[in-house]
C-alpha cells in the first residue's frame, strides 16, 4: 500500500510499504478514508520528539471503514464507518477505568523510553515515534487499530466524513482541555492558539457554558475562522498586549480558565524564524513555553491553566512563583479521546459542533509532503491538510 513516512528532519515521503495485518485478537484493520495533519506532527517532523525512525508511517487523526476484524473484537463489524482516537487504550486497566485513556498502562509496548524521560510511561499513540509505542500511523491506505472496541466509534449517519474526522483528535483534545480545566457556566475562558485544537477548545468551552471566550493567535485567517465558525472573540498577540487586554475585558480579574493549545514551538515573534529555530535547536531543553508562561501570568487568582500543547522536556523560566502565589491549578494531558468522542459525535449530529472549516486543504495522500509543507508554514491559510488515501 501507499503511505506517508518520515524520512528525516522536516522531510516527508510517500512510498510503498507492506500492508498491515491483524496482530492481536482485539485489532481491526481499517481502510482509511480521511487522515489529517496535527500540530503534534510538526514537533515530530522537526525532530523534537525522540525515537522517530526513518520510514515510520505518520498520522494519528483519522477515520475509515472496518475491513477486517480480530477474533476478540465484540462490537465492530466489517463495513462500520468509524472515527478512531489517536491514543491506544486497553479499556481494562485502572487508568482506562478512570477514563484517563491516554495514560493506559497497556497501550505502549515500549515503556522503557518514556519511563526514562518522565518517570512513568503514558499510553501509545498512532504514528508518534517509538517512544509512544512505535505504532504505524494512519497516513496510509490501511492501518491496524488495536483495542478497536475501545478506540473506534461508529459515526452517526447524519455526520459527514468531513466533520467526523476531527472528533478523532482535535475536538477531543480541545474538549478535554475545557472539561478537565473545570470550565463552568458563566466562566471566562482564554485559549492560546487558534489551530484545530485551540478552536475546538474554545467551542467546547462555549458548549460547557462559558460566558466569554477569547482566542489568542496572530494568524488573521485563523482568527477569522474563530469569529465565523466558533463564535468566540479574538486577540491578535502580534499587535496587542494580551495580558492588558484580558485584564481590561474581565474587570481586572483575568480569565477563570486559561487553555494553552500552542505547544513546544510557541513563538513570540514572526513565523518565519520558527523553522530555522526548529532546525537549529534540536535540544531537549529548548521546548519553548512562551504561551504557557503567558497563560499562567494572565490567569485569575485561584483559576486553572490547562496545557494541551505538547512538550517533551524541561523548560526555562517557568513562572512557578506566580502559579504558587496565585493558587493556580495547573494540569495537562495527552488526549483522553475515548472519554469525549461519543458526546462530541452527538453534538456534531445536532449541528452544534462544526469542523468542516478546519479542512482547508484536502488532497490525495500522494501529496502529503506538500500538505505538510503548507501546514507547517501555515501557507495559504492552511489549518489542517486532509489526505485521501483512496482518492
Amino acid at each position: 500500500m501507499r503511505a506517508a513516512t518520515w524520512t528525516g528532519v522536516n522531510e516527508v515521503s510517500v512510498e510503498t510499504v507492506p500492508d498491515p495485518a491483524i496482530l492481536n485478537d482485539r485489532d481491526v484493520i481499517l481502510r482509511v478514508s480521511r487522515t489529517t495533519t496535527c500540530g503534534s506532527d510538526l514537533h515530530l517532523l522537526g525532530g523534537y520528539i525522540p525515537a522517530m525512525r526513518v520510514g515510520d508511517v505518520l498520522g494519528h487523526e483519522f477515520m475509515g471503514e472496518v475491513v477486517e476484524v480480530g477474533s476478540g473484537v465484540r462490537d465492530r463489524r466489517v463495513g462500520d464507518r468509524v472515527v478512531v482516537n489517536s491514543f491506544i487504550a486497553c479499556g481494562n486497566c485502572w487508568y482506562c477505568r478512570q477514563e484517563l485513556y491516554s495514560l493506559c498502562d497497556n497501550g505502549n509496548p515500549n515503556p522503557g523510553i518514556t519511563e526514562g524521560l518522565w518517570g512513568q510511561s503514558p499510553g501509545g499513540c498512532f504514528g508518534y515515534s517509538h517512544a509512544m509505542g512505535g505504532f504505524a500511523g494512519s497516513h496510509a491506505e490501511y492501518v491496524r487499530v488495536p483495542f478497536a472496541d475501545v478506540g473506534t466509534f461508529v459515526v452517526p449517519e447524519e455526520v459527514s466524513d468531513d466533520r467526523a474526522l476531527f472528533a478523532s483528535d482535535a475536538v477531543s483534545t480541545g474538549w478535554m482541555g475545557a472539561d478537565l480545566a473545570g470550565t463552568k457556566p458563566g466562566d471566562t475562558v482564554a485559549v492560546w492558539g487558534a489551530g484545530g485544537v485551540g478552536q475546538m477548545a474554545a467551542r467546547a468551552a462555549m458548549l460547557l457554558g462559558a460566558e466569554q471566550v477569547y482566542v489568542v493567535d496572530r494568524l488573521p485567517e485563523r482568527l477569522e475562522q474563530v469569529r465565523q465558525h466558533v463564535g468566540a472573540e479574538v486577540i491578535d498577540y502580534s499587535t496587542t498586549d494580551v495580558m492588558a487586554e484580558l485584564r481590561e475585558r474581565t474587570g481586572g480579574r483575568g480569565p477563570d480558565v486559561c487553555i494553552e493549545a500552542v505547544g513546544m514551538e510557541a513563538h513570540s515573534t514572526g513565523v518565519q524564524n520558527v523553522y530555522d529555530q526548529v532546525k537549529q535547536q534540536l535540544r531537549l531543553q529548548t521546548d519553548r513555553p512562551s504561551a504557557v508562561r503567558e497563560a499562567i501570568m494572565a490567569c485569575r487568582k485561584g483559576g486553572s491553566v490547562f496545557v494541551l500543547g505538547v512538550f517533551a522536556g524541561p523548560v526555562d523560566k517557568f513562572p512557578l512563583g506566580a502559579a504558587m502565589n496565585k493558587g493556580l491549578i495547573i494540569r495537562g494531558a495527552q488526549v483522553h479521546g475515548q472519554r469525549y468522542t461519543p458526546r462530541i459525535l452527538e453534538h456534531m449530529a445536532r449541528g452544534e459542533l462544526t469542523t468542516e472549516h478546519l479542512a482547508t486543504h484536502v488532497m490525495p495522500l500522494e501529496d502529503a509532503a506538500r500538505g505538510y509543507e503548507m501546514f507547517k508554514a501555515k501557507e495559504d491559510g492552511c489549518v489542517r491538510a486532509v489526505f485521501l488515501p483512496h482518492g
Binding site: 507492506p18 496482530l23 492481536n24 525512525r53 534540536l282
Partner: protein, 156 residues
C-alpha cells in the same frame, strides 16, 4: 543534554547500543529537572522489589501466576498484596541474590507481560508493521536497539 548528542554517544558504544541509550535517558540531568535525592548504589538497585499494580482481585492473581513470571521459577520471590483504594493487586518480584542487568531486564519484561495478560488477556504484538525504506545508519540502529530493549528497560 542534547538529545542527538545522547543518541550519538550511545551509538558509539559497542554492542547493546539501544539499551545503553535508554540507560542514559534515565539519567539525563538537566539543571532544574531530575532527582534531588541520593541514588541507589547498583547492588541495592538490583535487589529492590519491582512491582506492577494489576486491576485484578489479589486472590486470583496469587492463585495462578502468569506464565512469564512463573518461567523465572525459584530465581525470584513473588509477592501479591492488595493495592489500596480498589486498585487491584500489587504484583511484586525480586531476585534472590544480586541479579545481572540482563536478569533485571528479564524481570521487567516478565512483570509487564504478566500485567498485560492479567488485565487484557494478551500482550500487544508489534511485528511485523508497515514501514518505509530504512537505510542502515548508526542512528537508526541505535533507535531500533532502543525500541527493542524498551520492554526490558525503564524505571520498573
Amino acid at each position: 543534554m542534547d538529545l542527538n548528542q545522547l543518541i550519538g554517544r550511545a551509538t558509539g558504544l559497542a554492542g547493546g547500543a539501544g539499551a545503553a541509550l535508554l540507560k542514559q535517558l534515565q539519567h539525563v540531568r538537566v539543571p532544574g529537572a531530575g532527582q534531588a535525592s541520593a541514588t541507589d548504589d547498583p547492588e541495592r538497585a538490583a535487589q529492590r522489589w519491582r512491582a506492577v499494580t494489576v486491576l485484578r482481585d489479589p486472590a486470583e492473581v496469587s492463585a495462578s501466576l502468569p506464565a512469564p513470571l512463573a518461567a523465572l521459577g525459584d530465581r525470584v520471590e513473588v509477592r501479591v498484596t492488595p493495592a489500596p483504594g480498589d486498585r487491584g493487586a500489587e504484583l511484586a518480584a525480586r531476585y534472590r541474590g544480586t541479579p545481572t542487568e540482563q536478569q533485571v531486564g528479564d524481570l521487567r519484561a516478565a512483570l509487564r507481560e504478566s500485567k498485560a495478560l492479567l488485565e487484557v488477556g494478551e500482550v500487544l504484538r508489534m511485528e511485523p508493521q508497515p514501514h518505509g525504506r530504512r537505510a542502515a545508519t548508526p542512528q537508526g540502529a541505535a533507535l531500533e536497539g532502543a525500541a527493542a530493549a524498551a520492554p526490558r528497560e525503564g524505571v520498573l
